[in-house]
């Protein structure tokens, strides 16, 4: 009797140990570890990706928010499955130069036309203000009260904008206002409600482009840089470890910048749950991402 009880206990203990050993392996196999920088647009895309991968492809998604440097290293070392915000070719050039093409499974651009910007509401007549150089016109300067509305001091766009204030003669006599992202958006909203002129510093994708009809000013000296493309980087053995339905979905996952702006704006309003709502509103796009050519023909 004692032997029998001991055997039962041993079997139970073995089963328990085995189940503990097995659980993490299985969980890892069914979980996509995604790194999304804690920027509004990145979080919005992560939320969408998480929703689709979970509901359509049957994988769990764990989203963490590493900074760019940590994310590149983690994906290259295989500690992270996917990084959503590889800005190429300039913004993250330091990291891009450090890693080789074969260190990653690059799923290609997820969206393009990302850039640092100076923008005005679209109702500001284009024939009067379409370029930073137009800011020299006295009537334009008067309409703007000689102000450029910026964000937090120290932000990359503010450092560049500071340099622009020195480099462009057209900006002589203007003041770059420091504040915060929220304050800039509040000023923009207020100006638009009152049909007033305003120039704001920013970047796209950004929720303000989803909320308001804006136009970017041309910047002839290219101090704001060229357009960037945002790639999704997977770990190098991604395709060996995940079924092809997942990698094919990621290869097809591509959005025009306008939709990224809208998604970001939606995320700014409702946060978590944005992905589910967006997917419900755009079933045909999700269908193509999941089913590929079968969804088209």
């Amino acid at each position: 009797m004692k032997t029998k009880r001991l055997a039962i206990v041993l079997i139970f203990a073995f089963a328990l140990t085995f189940s503990f050993m097995a659980t993490p392996i299985q969980a890892k196999d069914n979980t996509l570890d995604v790194g999304a920088i804690a920027w509004e647009e990145s979080l919005a895309i992560a939320d969408l990706l998480q929703h689709i991968v979970r509901t359509e492809l049957g994988f769990n998604v764990k989203v963490t928010n590493p900074n760019a440097g940590v994310a590149y290293t983690a994906v290259a070392n295989g500690d992270l499955d996917l990084f959503l915000e590889s800005w190429q070719p300039m913004t993250q050039a330091n990291y891009l130069k450090r890693f080789n093409v074969i260190d990653f499974a690059d799923f290609g651009p997820m969206y393009e036309e990302a850039k640092l910007t100076w923008a005005v509401p679209a109702y500001v007549p284009e024939d009067m203000l379409s370029s930073v150089e137009d800011l020299a016109k006295p009537e334009v300067k008067e309409k703007l009260d000689g102000e450029i509305t910026g964000i937090d001091p120290g932000a990359g766009i503010m450092n560049i904008s500071d340099n622009m204030m020195e480099e462009y003669d057209a900006l002589s006599g203007y003041t770059l206002l420091e504040g915060s992202g929220a304050a800039m958006q509040a000023s923009l909203k207020s100006a638009i409600m009152n049909d007033e002129w305003i120039v704001v510093t920013g970047w796209q994708p950004h929720s303000m482009y989803g909320r308001f009809d804006l136009r970017n000013l041309e910047e002839p000296k290219k101090m704001l840089g060229e357009e960037e493309r945002i790639h999704m980087l997977g770990r190098t053995d991604f395709m060996a470890d995940f079924p092809s339905k997942v990698s094919q979905f990621l290869s097809r996952f591509y959005l025009p910048i306008g939709m990224v702006n809208n998604l970001t704006s939606m995320y700014s309003d409702i946060g978590e749950g944005t992905g589910a709502k967006w997917a419900e509103e755009h079933p045909e796009i999700v269908d193509y991402w999941i089913n590929g050519v079968d969804a088209l023909e």
Partner: protein, 297 residues
């Protein structure tokens, strides 16, 4: 005489003006054309050429780009793209199957992502061979199976690496040592496959995907002898600066399932000149998506 000379002078002036106008028009056209050229390098492999020609056809017919298509070996093609001496390169499989002799950072190239995935070589059989009877190399050891296969396994002679893998497999799996590895040239192997499928005969052969047999016959793998790879489209780092966003976005969306790659290779084998046009005619919805994006969904 004076009167008769006047019309002649007028004619000469008009003629000269016409020549000057014509010359300036021609030189203007040349300048415009120079800005709208694209260099496309393609690695010399059966599966890359049809894709290169499809891409070339679309860049020309849908984007008015003059495509300079050239065959280039991998090392040279990538080097030219990295040095900015070329614009696009097709022919790099990732992750690489062996150590590579080149070393490019993410900064030097623009990886536009996979244009197709699921590239695999393995041991294949026609789909009509019942899966419950033959689905793994271990099943080949059965005496009934051996008899159905006449103790022969076909190996495509051009695939040296596959022959090695097959030899390893016959040593590793018990009972496969009696099989004769029949090496056949590509044309003979294809015709043997054709004969067997017409007569519903059982057959096992090494096969790579994509390939023409995968398009002609319904085949399935019973063993994968290589790791899955994807073929990427690479561009110069400054692709986005050099070409309009219509072009770069098209390149980002250019993605095919492996079945359509098989089909494209078959069309190219049937008639090299008309393959791209036929493919475009047969898949208008997919092409429309590549060219116009989500607007067509």
């Amino acid at each position: 005489m004076m009167y008769s000379a006047k019309p002649l002078a007028q004619f000469v002036i008009a003629f000269l003006a016409f020549v000057i106008l014509l010359t300036s028009t021609v030189s203007f056209v040349n300048v415009a054309a120079a800005e709208e050229k694209i260099d496309l390098y393609i690695a010399p492999k059966t599966e890359y050429l049809p894709i290169g020609e499809l891409l070339s056809y679309l860049l020309d017919s849908r984007f008015d780009l003059e495509v300079n298509e050239k065959i280039q070996y991998l090392d040279i093609g990538l080097r030219k793209i990295a040095n900015g001496k070329g614009d696009l390169f097709i022919g790099l499989k990732l992750p690489p199957a062996r150590e590579v002799s080149w070393n490019y950072s993410l900064y030097q190239l623009c990886d536009l992502g996979p244009i197709y995935e699921d590239v695999i070589s393995g041991l294949a059989t026609p789909a009509y061979v019942p899966e419950e009877k033959l689905s793994s190399p271990e099943d080949l050891a059965g005496s009934n199976i051996k008899a159905r296969l006449h103790d022969e396994l076909i190996v495509y002679e051009s695939e040296e690496k596959l022959l090695e893998e097959m030899k390893k497999l016959t040593r590793r799996v018990e009972g496969l040592g009696d099989y004769k590895l029949v090496e056949l040239g590509e044309m003979v192997a294809n015709s043997e496959l054709n004969r067997a499928t017409r007569n519903n005969e059982w057959l096992i052969t090494t096969l790579k995907r994509p390939s023409i047999p995968f398009s002609l016959y319904d085949m399935r793998f019973i063993e994968e002898l290589t790791e899955g790879q994807s073929v990427h489209l690479f561009g110069r780092r400054t692709l986005v600066e050099k070409y309009s966003s219509r072009v770069t976005q098209f390149l980002s969306r250019f993605y095919l399932p492996i079945e359509l790659i098989n089909e494209l290779i078959r069309l190219h084998d049937e008639d090299k000149r008309s393959a791209a046009r036929k493919f475009v005619d047969e898949h208008p919805a997919l092409v429309d998506y590549w060219v116009k994006g989500v607007a067509v969904l």
